[in-house]
C-alpha cells in the first residue's frame, strides 16, 4: 500500500447511477467517488456490473438515471471522445487493440487527443505537423521503454501473445497522459510473472505521474496488494466501500462471494 502518497480531492463522483439492458438491471443506484492519485479497486462476482460501471464513466453506456461529476463538472452522461479529451483513458476486458497495426502505431493513436495541428496540416504532413509528429513519437518511445516492449515495436499486435497485448493496451492508454486511468481486468489470463510485472507498472504509473487509477480485478491478492480503497458491487448494487482490510472482513462481501464462482 502507498500510504505515503497523498490522496487528493474528489476527481470523479458517480451518484445514483442506474442502467438496464432490456430486462437486465446491470446497475442500481450506485454511488461512489474516486479521489485524485488513489488506486481504487472495483470488485464483485461475475455479472455484478463492474464493466458496465467503467463503460458509464467513459461514455460507452448512457445511464438511465444518475449523475457523473468529473473535475467539478456534473453531467447525466459522458461521451467517449469527450471523456478521452478530458483525460480519461482506459483498457478493455476483451482487449480492444487495432490488431492490424504495429505496437508503435497502436500507442501513437493514444496520442490522438494531444495532436494540436488541424487535420489539414496533418493530411499534408507538412511543417509544424511533422515536428509535432516527431515529438509524439518521442513520448511514445518513452512509454515503450517504460513498459519494456522495445522488441515488439514494429510487430502487428494481432500476432502478439495475450499478456503482451494487455501491456500494449496499457501503453496506448498511458500515451494519452491521462488523469484518470480505467483498467478492466488488466491481469486476467496472465501467469504469475506477468501479473507481477503488470502490478509494478500500475504502481509506478501511479507513483511517478500521480495518475488516478480505477481498476477491476478478480485476483484478491492483487487487489489487497495494490489498492488504496475497494468498492464492491453485487447484482448491480454497491455492497461495500472501504479499505482493503475492512472490505475483506465485511460480512456482506463474504456472503456475496460465498458459493459464487469467480475466475
Amino acid at each position: 500500500m502507498n500510504n505515503a502518497r497523498d490522496i487528493g480531492d474528489v476527481l470523479l463522483k458517480v451518484e445514483d447511477i442506474s442502467l438496464s439492458f432490456g430486462g437486465v438491471q446491470a446497475l442500481t443506484d450506485v454511488t461512489f467517488e474516486v479521489r485524485a492519485r488513489e488506486v481504487l479497486g472495483i470488485i464483485g462476482p461475475n455479472g455484478a456490473g463492474k464493466s458496465s460501471m467503467l463503460n458509464v464513466i467513459n461514455g460507452f453506456y448512457h445511464p438511465d438515471k444518475g449523475r457523473i461529476t468529473y473535475k467539478g463538472t456534473t453531467r447525466t452522461k459522458m461521451r467517449p471522445h469527450e471523456a478521452a479529451r478530458q483525460g480519461i483513458a482506459r483498457t478493455f476486458q476483451n482487449i480492444a487493440l487495432f490488431k492490424g497495426m504495429s505496437t508503435l502505431d497502436n500507442i501513437m493513436t493514444g496520442r490522438n487527443t494531444m495532436m494540436h495541428r488541424n487535420f489539414l496540416w496533418q493530411a499534408l504532413y507538412l511543417g509544424p505537423a511533422r515536428t509535432e509528429e516527431l515529438e509524439h513519437r518521442r513520448a511514445v518511445e518513452r512509454i515503450i521503454d517504460f513498459l519494456e516492449i522495445e522488441a515488439i515495436r514494429k510487430t502487428p499486435v494481432g500476432r502478439l501473445p495475450y499478456g503482451l497485448q494487455k501491456r500494449v493496451e496499457l501503453g496506448r492508454a498511458l500515451a494519452a497522459e491521462p488523469e484518470l486511468l480505467l483498467l478492466d481486468e488488466p491481469m486476467a489470463g496472465m501467469n504469475l510473472e506477468e501479473k507481477e510485472d503488470m502490478c509494478r507498472f500500475i504502481l509506478d504509473v501511479n507513483d511517478e505521474f500521480g495518475t488516478t487509477i480505477a481498476l477491476i480485478e478478480h485476483d484478491m491478492a492483487v487487489v489487497m496488494d495494490i489498492c488504496d480503497r475497494v468498492v464492491v458491487l453485487d447484482y448491480g448494487r454497491k455492497i461495500a466501500d472501504g479499505s482493503p482490510d475492512a472490505v475483506r472482513t465485511n460480512q456482506d462481501v463474504i456472503d456475496a462471494y460465498l458459493g459464487v464462482s469467480h475466475d
Binding site: A84, F92, M108
Partner: protein
C-alpha cells in the same frame, strides 16, 4: 474434339501468332482495369472506415463528372472547375455524414446499405436535374494522340490515365501509412470502439473518408467521361466494380487495384480470343463469372482479411 480445340488450343495459337496484337489487347485491358480500380478504391475506402457498403459510389462518379462538365459548359476555366467540383464532393461528404450516417449510427450494415441505395437515386436525379441528362463531351485537355512503340499502338490519353491512377494510389498510400490522420483512419477501420476510447472523433473521420472517396470518384469520372462521354451509363461501371471487390477483397486497397487490372485484362482477352466460341459479348459477363469462381474457392478475395468463424 472440335470443342476442345476451340476452347483450349485455338485461342492460344492465335495469341502466339500475333504477339503485337496480344500486347495491344492486354494494354487496352489494363487501362479499362485502371478505371475499374478507381471506382473499387472508393468503395474500399468507405467500407474500411465505416463498414458501409456504398452502393452510390458509381453515382458519385457520375455526379462528379456531371458537375465538372456543367461548370465547364458555363465557361468556368478547367482548373477552377476542378477545384469547384472537388469542393462540391467535400461538401457532399459533410451532408452525407450529417443527414445519413449520423442519424443511422449503430444501425445494422444492411440499413446503411439501403440508405446508400437511396443516395444513389438521389445523386443521379439531382445530377441530371442540375446539369441535364444528354450525353456530354468532357474535354479537360488531356492529350489524345496515338503513337507506336515497337510496333505496338499506344495512346497518350491511356498512358496519362494510368499515370494519374498510379499517382493517386501512391498519394493515398503515403496518406494512410505516414500521417497522423491516416493512422486515425486505420484505427477506425480496425476497431470503432477502441477508436472512440482514444478520442478519435468518428464523425470527423467519416467526413474525411467520404471526401477522399468523392475525390477518387471525381478522378474516375474525369477518366471515364473523357474517354466515353459523360452519361448515365457512367454510374453503371459501379456494377463492374463489384466483381473487382470480390476478387481483391473488400478491405484491401492493393486488392482493389490488382482486382481491377485482372478483370480489365481478363475480360478483354476473353472477348477477343474466346468471344467467337461463345458467340461474342463475353465482356459483359466475364467479370461476374470470375467473381463467382472466386466466391466458391476464395471468398475473402486475393488480399482480403481471412474470414475465420468465431466459435
Amino acid at each position: 474434339m472440335d470443342l476442345m480445340n476451340i476452347l483450349f488450343i485455338a485461342p492460344f495459337l492465335d495469341m502466339a501468332d500475333a504477339p503485337v496484337f496480344l500486347a495491344e489487347v492486354v494494354i487496352s485491358g489494363v487501362l479499362t482495369g485502371v478505371m475499374y480500380s478507381l471506382v473499387a478504391l472508393g468503395f474500399v475506402l468507405i467500407f474500411k472506415a465505416s463498414g458501409v457498403f456504398n452502393f452510390a459510389q458509381g453515382a458519385m462518379v457520375l455526379f462528379a463528372a456531371l458537375t465538372l462538365v456543367g461548370l465547364m459548359e458555363r465557361g468556368v476555366p478547367v482548373w477552377l472547375a476542378l477545384i469547384g467540383t472537388a469542393a462540391v464532393m467535400v461538401a457532399l461528404a459533410f451532408v452525407i455524414e450529417r443527414v445519413m450516417l449520423r442519424p443511422l449510427i449503430n444501425q445494422e450494415g444492411i440499413i446503411l446499405f439501403m440508405a446508400t441505395i437511396g443516395l444513389d437515386f438521389l445523386l443521379q436525379g439531382v445530377g441530371q436535374i442540375a446539369w441535364g441528362s444528354n450525353v456530354k463531351v468532357l474535354n479537360v485537355g488531356i492529350p489524345n494522340k496515338s503513337f507506336e512503340v515497337g510496333g505496338i499502338l499506344l495512346n497518350e490519353f491511356d498512358l496519362f490515365a494510368a499515370l494519374i491512377a498510379a499517382v493517386l494510389v501512391g498519394v493515398l498510400a503515403v496518406f494512410f501509412q505516414k500521417t497522423a490522420i491516416g493512422r486515425a483512419l486505420r484505427a477506425v477501420a480496425d476497431d470503432h470502439q477502441a477508436a472512440l476510447a482514444v478520442g478519435i472523433p468518428l464523425t470527423t473521420i467519416w467526413v474525411i473518408v467520404w471526401s477522399v472517396a468523392g475525390i477518387v470518384a471525381l478522378v474516375a469520372g474525369i477518366m471515364w467521361g473523357a474517354k466515353s462521354g459523360v452519361q448515365f451509363s457512367l454510374s453503371l461501371i459501379a456494377l463492374k466494380s463489384l466483381p473487382v471487390l470480390i476478387l481483391g477483397g473488400f478491405t484491401s486497397i492493393p486488392g482493389a487495384i490488382i482486382g481491377g487490372l485482372i478483370i480489365g485484362v481478363g475480360e478483354k482477352i476473353a472477348e477477343i480470343y474466346w468471344g467467337p466460341a461463345f458467340g461474342g459479348a463475353i465482356e459483359g459477363w466475364f467479370a461476374y463469372m470470375l467473381a463467382l469462381v472466386f466466391l466458391l474457392f476464395r471468398p475473402q478475395g486475393l488480399f482480403g482479411e481471412r474470414i475465420i468463424e468465431r466459435v
